[in-house]
């Protein structure tokens, strides 16, 4: 996939109209992500119910089309999943962006995978990989609440 196609797809689908760009009422988990290199910022809000299922997820933030689209796609895929499942999806996505050809998880539908694969074009642009992964790393830290603010520079991708 060449980069301009990537831009077309993402922008048409999510960049211009990001889903879940708001603040969840009564969220019970949240975390902020920041990429000091380009100034991208994201704040993820999560509402897990007693069964650790994602009742709602949303985000606020500012950033480039890739980071906004990535957050938008991510939040729309994650809703309704269980915490364990969320972690599997994140892992699968991060591995795909880093090195793998495709997504392996059985937890996503084919059309959902296709959406995510749109982001794989950034592989050739390591700097932009950070844009695509910021919201995902932030989601991990929201779930784990290990760190409150995540600084993407430390991440491999």
């Amino acid at each position: 996939m060449n980069l301009k196609e990537l831009y077309q797809e993402i922008i048409l689908d999510h960049g211009k109209n990001p889903r879940n760009l708001r603040k969840t009422d009564n969220f019970n988990k949240d975390a902020k992500g920041y990429n000091p290199l380009c100034g991208d910022k994201v704040h993820i809000y999560l509402k897990l119910n007693e069964n650790k299922k994602v009742e709602d997820i949303s985000f606020e933030g500012q950033g480039c089309a890739i980071s906004m689209a990535s957050a938008s796609i991510m939040t729309s895929l994650i809703k309704g999943k269980e915490e364990k499942e969320v972690k599997e999806i994140i892992k699968d996505f991060l591995e795909m962006i880093k090195e793998k050809e495709s997504l392996n998880t059985k937890l996503l539908e084919e059309d959902e995978k296709t959406k995510l694969m749109c982001l794989s074009g950034v592989k050739q642009y390591p700097m932009r990989v950070k844009c695509a992964t910021l919201s995902w790393h932030t989601l991990i830290s929201a779930i784990d609440k290990s760190q409150n603010e995540i600084n993407i520079k430390s991440k491999e991708i």
């Binding site: 980069l3 380009c38 089309a65």
Partner: protein, 404 residues
Amino acid sequence: MNIDDIKKEFPIFSNKVHNNDLVYLDSANSSQKPLVVVDRIYDFYTKEFSNVGRSVHYLAVAATNLYENTRTSVQKYINAKDKNEIVFTKGATEAINLVASTFGQKYLKEGDEVLVTELEHHSNYVPWHYLRKSKGIKIEFSEVNENGEVTLESIEKKITKKTKIIAITHLSNVTGAILPVKEITKLAHSKGIPVLIDGCQSAPHLKLDMQDLGCDFYAISCHKMYGPTGLGILYAKKKWLEELPPYQGGGGMIGEVKKEDITYGDLPNKFEAGTMATAQVIAFNESIKFLNKIGIDNIIKHENELIEYGQELLRKNNSVKLIGNPKNKGAVLSFTIGNIHPHDIATILDEDGVAIRAGHHCCQILHEKLGLVATARASLGVYNTKEDLDKLNSSINKCKKIFE
């Protein structure tokens, strides 16, 4: 050397980027290198290599002479009074850290003020911040006006009885504003305040005359000046180098070393601890020669034409907004395009071989002031042409289309 034809001195331009000719507009970040400089490095390593200053054998002696020749060339190029006022560092960042650390150690105490500007690169702010943490000094910021300039008046306004040093950029790497550094220095000196100038962006583009400027310290990045990476220069008036304590400690900078005490070497050795960037220093002499061959007046004329031309183009391009409109402007064109994020701009332009930079350009304070997270920046070097700016403009138009 004809400046309109200078691209051919730079081998990189015979390479393709994404199957396009390279339109390099990121020289404020780091400049490309003319062949003479690269050849010098090659020849030095393959025919003449030795460490300098320590051994007495043939190669060491030759290398030492070459090394010191560059010091003399730099002295002449920037019109310093004494060659020992030239200290080689690993970069402008180290040069500024050297001054902040040693000056701070000797002269600053709690409550003292360091005056910088809102235009400063992080390299001319973080080192002073350390002193804020360790010594309780204060950092004052002269304001940037709506044209992206810092005026003499805005400096004057912030000078107090507690101001102990003024540390300012010569040429903003975002707005391109050229500061009235000579006037600022005069004003500062009339109040007994020394001045450090961050000359990273000015050094490759303006005529440098330390004796005329009168400043106390001047920091230069050689890699932005058509020279090798890993090398910078601190110019400092002799009296400062004499009075300031040494910075890093190690071989080559000592006098006598005993278990109880240590004396330090003379200038400039006192500030050049350890094995220096020998090959880089030696090759930088070729950068100076290259600049001299073109002539700084020709460079200024050429680049001014480009800036005019570029500003004109971008001004006419609607939804493109130029950042800063200083009267005195250097080789930097920062801009935004509507709501398109600068990183997206940079990535899309890159597909056409147009290399610009996007981000805060190590000037977060300025960006916060401007209410922007990031900007796109096209910056110029001697090798750029009007065609490069035309390509920039047409690539910007493509980018706008994608985001329409």
